[in-house]
């Protein structure tokens, strides 16, 4: 009788311990998944900002939409009315890469206004706006 009671107590303790351990492990797994998501988002945003800043520098150096396309590299192409290019994980031009940058080039009186947006898998991550004065309009004040 005493042995049976001790065995039952042992099993009860083992069961409670296992349940608590599983519950804590599940909660911690969620915490790890959350931190992984946050870190991935930070990495994506940093990559997108680098790509957008590179594109903005290309805009600053360009005198025309054609020159901007050539500055962005051989992979640059027309993307629905704007200029676009794709980049891989290492931020190198890659036609099949996950990052897509789209640029507009709206020139008026020599001032070319450009909106640059970077997206990944169709989801916009970052965008910025810049401009360059090309002096081709002669400065209309």
């Amino acid at each position: 009788m005493r042995e049976t009671r001790k065995t039952a107590a042992f099993y009860a303790e083992a069961l409670v311990m296992a349940a608590v351990f599983v519950a804590v492990t599940l909660a911690l797994t969620r915490a790890f998944a959350l931190s992984r998501g946050l870190a991935a988002r930070a990495g994506e945003l940093t990559d997108a900002v680098c790509i957008a800043a590179n594109a903005a520098e290309a805009v600053a150096s360009a005198d025309s939409g054609e020159e901007l396309r050539s500055l962005l590299g051989a992979e640059a192409a027309d993307f629905g009315g704007g200029i676009g290019a794709r980049y891989g994980e290492g931020l190198v031009p890659d036609p099949n890469g996950p990052y897509e940058v789209r640029l507009t080039w709206d020139e008026e009186d020599g001032l070319a206004d450009s909106i640059i947006s970077v997206s990944r898998d169709g989801r916009e991550i970052y965008s910025l706006r810049t401009a360059v004065y090309t002096a081709k309009g002669g400065g209309q004040g």
């Binding site: 005493r2 009671r5 001790k6 107590a9 042992f10 303790e13 311990m17 351990f21 804590v24 492990t25 911690l28 915490a31 790890f32 959350l34 931190s35 992984r36 998501g37 946050l38 870190a39 988002r41 930070a42 990495g43 945003l45 940093t46 997108a48 900002v49 957008a52 800043a53 903005a56 600053a60 009186d109 020599g110 001032l111 206004d113 970052y126 910025l128 706006r129 810049t130 401009a131 360059v132 004065y133 090309t134 002096a135 309009g137 002669g138 400065g139 209309q140 004040g141």
Partner: protein
């Protein structure tokens, strides 16, 4: 005589230690990931501000070119000295100082030469030590 009470065995102790270690690691990883995310967002905002200022500066150059071609000079933040015109743009604590020499045309066919294009972010030292002892 009653049976001996069930004691916390070595396995329970081991699981307890493992759980505490996992909890500490989870806390550290969340803290680090949140700090990374905050830093990335701040960097993104800084770059956006910088290029917005760039845009305003370029618009100023167009305005200046037009004014010079029409025979005048625009109102600037500092008085023209020897043909120098300066304007300062401010956005979110970041300033862009543009200085141009209106007496020399540049190689791009503009009626002026940009002599300064400086972006600065105002910064003030945080003198508060929080809850640290100040040494007094």
């Amino acid at each position: 005589m009653r049976g001996a009470p069930v004691k916390l065995g070595p396995l329970a102790l081991l699981l307890c230690v493992i759980t505490i270690c996992l909890a500490v690691m989870a806390l550290l990883s969340i803290t680090t990931a949140r700090a990374d995310n905050r830093l990335a967002e701040r960097y993104a905002e800084t770059v956006r501000t910088r290029y917005e200022l760039e845009r305003e500066g370029q618009a100023f150059l167009r305005e200046l070119d037009g004014e010079i071609n029409n025979g005048g000079l625009p109102a600037a933040d500092s008085a023209a000295e020897d043909g120098a015109v300066e304007r300062v743009f401010e956005l979110d604590g970041t300033t862009l100082t543009v200085r141009v020499d209106t007496t020399r045309p540049d190689s791009r066919g503009r009626a002026f030469t940009v002599t300064q294009w400086r972006i600065e972010k105002s910064w003030s030292e945080n003198e508060s030590l929080g809850r640290l002892w100040g040494g007094k």
